[in-house]
Amino acid sequence: MNLDIRGIAFSYRSQEVLRDLSFEVRPNEFIAILGPNGVGKTTLLRCLNALLRPTNGAIIVEGRDLLTMSRMEIAREMAYVAQRTEPVRLTAFDAVLLGRRPHMGLSTTPHDLGVTEAIIARLDLSGLALRYIDELSGGELQKVAIARALVQEPQVLLLDEPTSSLDLKNQLELLELVRAVVQEHGISALMTMHDLNLALRFADRFIMMKDGCIHAAGGPEVVTADLVREVYGVKVAVETLRGYRIVLPEA
């Protein structure tokens, strides 16, 4: 699915958070949205999912204005994984099954249950599918949230700092999974991220934000020592090690 973001702006009351952002999202793209704290990354994701209404500009989904679509229509095209997942007394299976809500009539069908099962198996959650999610670890909880987004069968996956609460192994596994899903199913994923090295390892396009604007955008080659210094104010070296582009802060 094609997503065109045309000059969107957003203000919280009088404070301007996003200014005139434009970019396009194509199928099979895994985009990392980078930038310092408070630069508007999460706000951008929320605008893309119509959780917030941009004060200016438009988001065009396959030729339709996002803001003219109903919440259900949007939910059938896009899934959103918030930074925090509420640990409540639902089983992991039921928490994942919630992702079928946009496709569901009055109750679940065998197909809904089958899709949920398939994703749970795919994410190796089968062992804890019938445990309550308020008893799960942070990593398991995040996997449940991702699974819920995947059973939504979205065309666009929006992830707000998906790895912030995960250990190294879970970070790698989770991003590997997202990249595989993006490639296998021809969907797009956008994630906000603080860890530049993780982003460089998994994403294929980068949007570097500064002061509510896009400061730079493109493939891995745009992430340079100069850019990181301009955006984050940190002196770094960008090297290639065993084929991976690495950002190394200098002393």
Partner: protein, 357 residues
Amino acid sequence: MHLEATGSDLGEQYSRYIRGKQFFLVGALVLLVFLIVVSISVGSVVIPIDEVITTLLGGAGGDAATIIWQIRLPRVLAAVVAGAGLAVAGAVMQSVLRNPLSSPYTLGVSHASGFGAAIAITLLGAGAVSSHVEDAVVVQNPYSVTICAFIAAMAATVILLLIARSRSSQPEVMVLIGVALAALFTAGTTFLQYFSSADQVAAIVFWTFGDVGRAGWSDLAVLLAVVLPCLGWFLLNRWNYNTLEAGDETAHSLGVRVEHVRVAGMLLSSVITAVVVSFLGIIGFIGLVSPHMVRRLIGDDQRFLVPGSCLVGGIVLLVSDTLARLVLAPVILPVGILTAFFGAPLFLYLLIRGYRR
């Protein structure tokens, strides 16, 4: 993106798990029916269970039939319907406010309804007091009492919704707001009492502790006419309530109109509260305790929590009322006093032991 289902034994496990919850609902329903029969049979005149059953099936006549049809059955059904209504209102309030301490009573909605009823009785002359002890208060115009109770309940609900919206709504904060609202409306009721005649004071005081024995068949019909459609709405929205459990943002992203669901849920819960209070008076803690009992047993899933709360609420209020009839027999205690005795310690237990949503 499109996913294909794969066969595995997880599906089998899950359907077993769901069947367990369905079994709980069926079990609760059977228990409720059994308790209805037992409750009809006991009292100052004990009617054998087999006679109760034949009478209910339209078989027998005589004194027992008169007692059953005129006194016991309306009372028992009122307890079941009011208990079910208050409990489901509590369950929905807890869900849409994402707050485990919510219920019509703890949030002050019951007190607001009581205040509205008091206004109708004193200022609009809707109630009168008879010398008959068993039925000391006669509501001459149940509709004006209900409507006033409803308006006051709505006022309390709107205040609650506005505060809940401001996002500072920690569970404890909401309950403190409930305390403040309850105090405010109780003060209003006391104010009315101060300027009322002795008869009216008696009528209002009678209102402040709930008694299911007040309901006649026509009251019961109105109660049912309000509680059943609300319950239907809650059941239709069970998946929306489930998505709210996952947080507002997630619910939005799953296509749920969060504010709409929240406001509708609160308003309908308040309607149930208002109609129960205006016919039966204030009955506390049923709406708080019943959903927690169900939650302990079968978890948060609203598909089962909503009907489960209904059944358990009906059971709890029916058992309480039956005890209230027996404990000081031949004096019949208003059940509101008994639920307060049982409910307050349970509420403290929830606060101290840690509540879970």
